[in-house]
Amino acid sequence: MLKKTPLYDLHVELGAKLVPFAGWEMPVQYPAGIMAEHGACREGAALFDVSHMCQLTIAGSDPAAAMEALCPGGLITLKPGAARYTQLTTLKGGIYDDLIVTNAGDHLFVVVNASMAEQDLEIMRAGLPDHTVNPLTDRALLAVQGPRVGDIVAGIFPQAAALRFMQSQMVGATRLSRLGYTGEDGFEISVPIEDAETLARNLIDAGAEPAGLGARDTLRMEAGLPLYGNDIDQTTSPIEAGLGFSIPKRRREAADFPGADRIVAEASNGPGRSLVGLRPDGRAPARAGTEIAAPDGAVIGTVTSGGFSPTLQAPISLGYVPAEYAAPGTPLNFILRGKAAPARVVALPFVPHRYLR
C-alpha cells in the first residue's frame, strides 16, 4: 500500500502522472512535462512536493554534540537558525544516508531521504539513547525553487526576505529554510498538514509551476548533487563523492565520527576513486549502470546517474573513476549497447549553482 502525501488530491487535480517512489505515490511529472518543469525552476519558480522525505526532531541535552558522534559534519558550531548538509557514516567510512541538520534552538530539525527514513531513525535512536528522536508525521514539506522564489515566498511570508542560503526560521507553525536540491535559490517549507494544500495553491497562484520527481532528478544532476542510492551508498565515502566540503577541519583533526579512519585518510591523501561529471561527445545518454572504459578499453568505473540535461540540451552523467582518470578533460568511453562512445570528464557542477549567499 503506497503512502499518499497531503498534496495527493492536488496532484491528481493538476493532472500529475503518479508513480511509486520509496513507498509513496509521487508525481513524476505534470502535463507541462519534464523539460518545461525543469525550465521553470531554472528561469522562474518550480514547486515540488517533497513531503515523502522524513522530517524529524532530536531533543535532549546538547543534541548537536550528540549527533556529531554519528556524522562528520560541523554541528556544534551551527548557530540557531542555521542549517548544514552532512551524512550518517558507517564504521567503514561509507554513507548510510545524507541529511540536512538545522539548529532549531532547543532541538535539531533534521530532514532525511524517504527511502532511508526507517534505517536512519534506528541509527539515531541507537546512537543517541539519551535523546528523543521524533519523526514529524503531522507536517508536509514543499520545495519551491528558482530565481523568482525570493519574491514569491516573501509575498506570502515577509520574513523570508531576510533569510540567506542555509538559514532557517519559524514563522508561526511553519518552518522556512532557504535551501534545496536543484542548484537554484529556493526554500523548503515545512508546514502543518492542514495548511499544506492552501500554501501549495498560493505558491502556484504566485507563479510557481508544479514540478515532479522527473525534473527534480534532472535539476540535481545538472547541479552535480549526488542522490542517495544512486551516487552514494554504504560503499562510497563522502570524500570519494566530492562531499569533503561538508567535513570541517575540526572534525578531520578530531577524527571522532564513524569511519573517520578511511575518511580522514582519503581527505589527506586523496581518494582512490572519485565521483566525476562526464559528457559524451555524441548525443546518446549514458544512464546509471553504464560501464566507463579507459582509452585502452579497460573498464574502470560505472555511471551512477545519467540522462539528458534540459539546460545544456545534451546528455550528462555522474560516475566513479579511479583518481588517475578524474581530472577534467580526461578522455574516456561509455560502453553503450556494446560499443565505445567517446566521453570526457568535466568539472562539476554541470550548471553553476545560484544560491543566495
Binding site: G33, I34, M35, G214, T218, R283, A284, P285
Partner: protein, 121 residues
C-alpha cells in the same frame, strides 16, 4: 493497407511487401519528451525481435524491436537530427523505418487495432 501492433508498443502498416513501422502514440506518451533516436541504415536486414534502434526520452531508454523479419529500405533520419519530432506524430509523419517485409507470415502473430487498444486500456 493494414496496420498491426506489437506488445512492445510499435505499429506496422503493410502495403504489399512493403511496410512502415514506428512507435505508438501510447508509447510516445509513456516515454515523454524524446531526446535521442538511433536508427540503422538502409540495407540492414533483421529477424523478428531483433533490436533495430533506440529511442530515449528524458526519463528512459527504449529499444526498438523488429515486428517482423525484413530489410530496411529507409530510415527517418530527420528524427535522429531532431528527436523531439517523434512526439509530434508518432503514428504518422514520425515513423521510424520503411522496410521490405521478408516473412509476411509473421504478421499474423501481431495484434490488430482492437486487440492493441484492449492491451493499453
Amino acid at each position: 493497407m493494414i496496420t498491426y501492433y506489437t506488445e512492445d508498443h510499435e505499429w506496422i502498416t503493410v502495403d504489399g511487401d512493403m511496410a512502415t513501422i514506428g512507435i505508438t502514440n501510447h508509447a510516445a506518451e509513456q516515454l515523454g519528451e524524446v531526446v535521442f533516436v538511433e536508427l540503422q541504415g538502409a540495407g540492414e536486414t533483421f529477424a523478428k525481435g531483433d533490436e533495430i534502434g533506440v529511442v530515449e526520452s528524458v526519463k528512459a531508454a527504449s529499444d526498438i524491436y523488429a515486428p517482423v523479419a525484413g530489410e530496411i529500405v529507409e530510415a527517418n533520419e530527420a528524427l535522429v537530427d531532431t528527436p523531439a519530432e517523434l512526439n509530434e506524430d508518432p503514428e504518422g509523419t514520425s515513423w521510424l523505418y520503411k522496410i521490405k517485409v521478408t516473412a509476411s507470415g509473421e504478421l499474423a502473430e501481431l495484434m490488430d487495432e482492437d486487440a492493441y487498444k484492449a492491451l493499453i486500456d
